[in-house]
Symmetry: C2
Amino acid sequence: MSTRILWIFLLVFQLSILQAQETSKNNLQLMPWPQQVELNSSDFAITNEFNVFIHGEVKKDSRIFKATTRFLRYATDKSGVFLKEGFPNAKNIDPETASVQIRFEEVSEVKLGIDESYSVHVDASGIQITAKTDVGAMHGLSTLLQLLSVKDGSYVFSGVKIKDEPRFVWRGLMMDVGRHFMPVDVVKRNIDAMAFVKLNVFHWHLSDDQGFRVEIKTLPKLIELASDGQYYTQAQIKDVVAYAGDRGIRVVPEFDVPGHGSAFLTAYPELASKKGIEYTLERNAGIFDPTLDPTIEKTYEFMDTLFKEVAPLFPDVYFHIGGDENEGKHWDENPDIQQFMKANDLKDNHALQTYFNIKLEKILSKYGKVLMGWEEIMTENMPKTALIHSWRGVNEGLEPGQSLVEAVKNGYKTILSNGYYIDLLLSVEDHYLVDPMPSVDLTEEEASRILGGEATMWSELVTPLTVDSRIWPRSVAIAERFWSAKEVRDIDSMFERLNTISQSLELMGIQHKKTPEYIFRNIANYQDTHALRTLSELSEPFKIYSRNAGGTEYQTYSPFALFADACTADAKAVRPFRKAVKAYVANKDTNSKEIIQHYLGAWSSLSEDLLTIAPKAPLTAPILPYAKRVSEISNLMIKGIESGKLTKSQFDTISSLLETKEDPSLNLDVELAVSKELLELATYLAK
Amino acid sequence: MSTRILWIFLLVFQLSILQAQETSKNNLQLMPWPQQVELNSSDFAITNEFNVFIHGEVKKDSRIFKATTRFLRYATDKSGVFLKEGFPNAKNIDPETASVQIRFEEVSEVKLGIDESYSVHVDASGIQITAKTDVGAMHGLSTLLQLLSVKDGSYVFSGVKIKDEPRFVWRGLMMDVGRHFMPVDVVKRNIDAMAFVKLNVFHWHLSDDQGFRVEIKTLPKLIELASDGQYYTQAQIKDVVAYAGDRGIRVVPEFDVPGHGSAFLTAYPELASKKGIEYTLERNAGIFDPTLDPTIEKTYEFMDTLFKEVAPLFPDVYFHIGGDENEGKHWDENPDIQQFMKANDLKDNHALQTYFNIKLEKILSKYGKVLMGWEEIMTENMPKTALIHSWRGVNEGLEPGQSLVEAVKNGYKTILSNGYYIDLLLSVEDHYLVDPMPSVDLTEEEASRILGGEATMWSELVTPLTVDSRIWPRSVAIAERFWSAKEVRDIDSMFERLNTISQSLELMGIQHKKTPEYIFRNIANYQDTHALRTLSELSEPFKIYSRNAGGTEYQTYSPFALFADACTADAKAVRPFRKAVKAYVANKDTNSKEIIQHYLGAWSSLSEDLLTIAPKAPLTAPILPYAKRVSEISNLMIKGIESGKLTKSQFDTISSLLETKEDPSLNLDVELAVSKELLELATYLAK
């Protein structure tokens, strides 16, 4: 039967993945990896008798009660078990014999540096979660959920003794809702996922050249003129902050000034450094000139009004003022500003920006806030209370994280984002190996100033539809970097565990697996999507800002449901195919050969398969030449691997198909992610 | 290649669907079908020059501006076109030559009976949308989005002249957030889908025995004790009401009293008809005894407090007080109540409930509201201003919609929900053919009192995960019933158009296609899902409340990510398989035979395929016996159809496998939806 063949085909396709699972049968699929893990062979089975008791005084609207209830729903949905008691501490639960017993000493504030430690002890007799704070206990619940796995055909909590605490106190995810607005539900489900992997700071980038995103009652034009109607009401802000707090997550708002100012100036042009031009919301991506005028009192009155109104919305003490990428072109052009600088002995634009920042620092301090900003805010006169957000590196012609070292040596607290720019669409491997603690010598005090780091989800090319698949699962590995011991850096183990945790993210509503399938359906105009899916598994979206290179190919309102938007970093086929090629080239073994043949077989028919749906699916048109090329290469390679060799002419054809400057994938903003492996194999076969 | 075979396999699988598409090549995929449609052959192609101008005075925060912007995003995502202008009325758009020109006379209130008519005229020279009100113009935009389709390999708006207006003024969807709470984002995306198919009333069932779902500041215990922390803040309520209003949709709240009262009485037991028992939130499904005491003044003080606080949250004049399924057991048992009835000459419980309703009517009227309630509120003394919501029928031992006729004859306005209970999980066909206008003789005046109807999404077995797939796409057909001419009732046409509109619902974020795939991944523990998907395509969840028959198999916190939750009414394979069987039995033609063989081929390997993933996927265990049975039947049928006949013993085996009382699908709460067709085929082959 043809289904049988389909089945065998799919099975072999999964071979390498299954093998990877085999090798780690006894490994726990935990992420971030805890500080101390002691395995025992005494698992706790989940049955309908499973229940949870939280010791101490526990109200139903308390954080721990709600977190435990969520835990029960997740565990139920995952395992399919029908619980007799769906809530913790239900009347029929005996505190002393409950399956899970949770104990903690105090309800913690949600602020920097709280005690997040916990321990989890699972054996066949029961499960104990112990922590100093309720936030620690909630981390214990996240770990426990990850321990729920299949052993011998049923769901159990793996027997284990875990003692755990974070390495860094600041473990953040930044979401840019300026370039593309992200509605409340998108934010909330990402906060759920953050909690699951023990990230504890949601950094909310709330303004940029493309839009201002918070209702400000005293400055109504910000919304009227500079939001396209896409903004959060203050009620929504409070709702999100409470939601995050319920998950032990701090919220740090960012209003980016004085650069990235197009939205501010679209609403209030009188604050601009360059007068007499019409400011509008930016529709392209890039670094733009509009900048607030730091020499006029009106600007500070405005900032005071803004901060006064938003400060109470965000209980956290830290407040991010951006401060990045202000190139000061309009300052140079404005004689009044030049005059002001001379009069105030401000020798360059950097000094002028410092003048601006210091004034903001005073305003913020009036409202109980500590200023933080991107690394450009760090100058001689900046108060040492300011927190420096290190972000620049190789792309900006600097040493990676250079400012981080400078900051701690200058007495500033700091966090690192260089290396964690997930919008670059690099392999998770690249981010995972970056450590917030630099390899230079630091005194203990200096080192203690490095609080942690943040993954940054800039949204030039990211919309509510695709943002989940851009953040996840890669940010799980970054979360591990921020939480786990420095020595936890085995790449294979990381990839294997990441694959499992990525699955559980669906429990939290993360759409990273659902969205690509939807995009394929849309491209295929609801015909068969199999060819598109297969093609995506060997294609990765352009990296390091080479998609939309000039910043003008895409506008904020361009379609972002294209083939590249369904592709992800770390395309699925790459690692298993690479492994097979390496093994084959080394040993010429049958197993690797079969895996390679099955991949090539699938790829060889892509072109034909796509052509079948093309007449009714116009969006496949730009994909066809790329699929054709992949199929041509695969067909030649099939001949090569069957006969054990490639002729010179076959090899030349393959390598020219791989190398051509008129690469048809370029029109798609994706790259063939197995090029290197194909070339390696071709080279081997042509020898 | 095995992929090639897979491909052929999938193609043939789609054959019948493609054939259906072929036959309607020239038909428009519109739903609800407009009142007047005149085709022309002059389509308007969408290119990057496509733009929209709204004539008249239009603010950026106006309803029409926002709706048009959404339209542009949907059209962009669907067609993949890169628009030069992503917003209507952008500076560079020439009002006179804009691709789409929108004209309307007035901005409408959102209330019952407004003018919703519109016309859309598309030809190669441009597109005109004209309406009396902005709400009408928005309907025009929804229609225009449906006109965007593929012709000759590119996306065009089909050339057409449409004049349209609704048949009924009340076209509702009720969502029960009492049994299972539905977060704001779930509500919002369903409101988007409602707007797309021109439904105009969101009926929000906000309380039931399982929970009270609105923050009431003057009655804080409702949330503290009776919501499980799952409720809407007042800010969220306002947000949803504004969101709906932006889409021309009225919001009618329902607080169900005096029955369905467990949540009320969990918070305020002093209002109970039976004292001295502990009230708790109901975890099961069913009709329960807890009932407010209508004989004490406290109850009315409470209702007054409640209504006073919620009335301003809901600008619509209609206010639903439930009033259904109060069996009055606790009234019978309470001597004080019996005494009160005697003293007030209330001869039975119905009279007592009327007494209660009339008092509520007065309170509501004080706050500017018109009372509506389920049909049980209709009694002799009920003021004629009340709106009667007709719901009972065959399941309740009554004539379908009997109360509707009684209501209009008694002078009440009414809407119909009997026939539109989508939680019954019946085929869309059943709902589609029910007309709000009964076939009995009514005077014109009586007929005019029938305002329309509502689809009702009761949520005993429905969660935020599955609710979209329970509402959609079936409610699109109900929307057509409420909007389109009575004569529009061709089943094949409906199914074909429904299939297309169901696709577009994904643009609005509806999860009906994504959720089943997620459930399969979860059941398969992230192994291959192909067998589960195939099995679901011939399985339908139990209908008419036979799932969870006693109301106690499932609790509110039970897992609802099971196989039955991924199955839907109108399982995908049923209609094409039925068509093939009918054709084969009639003509024994090769084409039908091949289609049947391909289905049977796919089904024959289901058991084996599932067994392969079973060891690592405990949730497949209950599915295996069902799959085994399907595969056994299919294998026998394959032999039969290949040889052209079945032996008596083969037939007996098949029919006993089809009929057995120990049907293993029963444990799954699904039924084999192609049983009848298989039996028909077997009978034919055994002749």
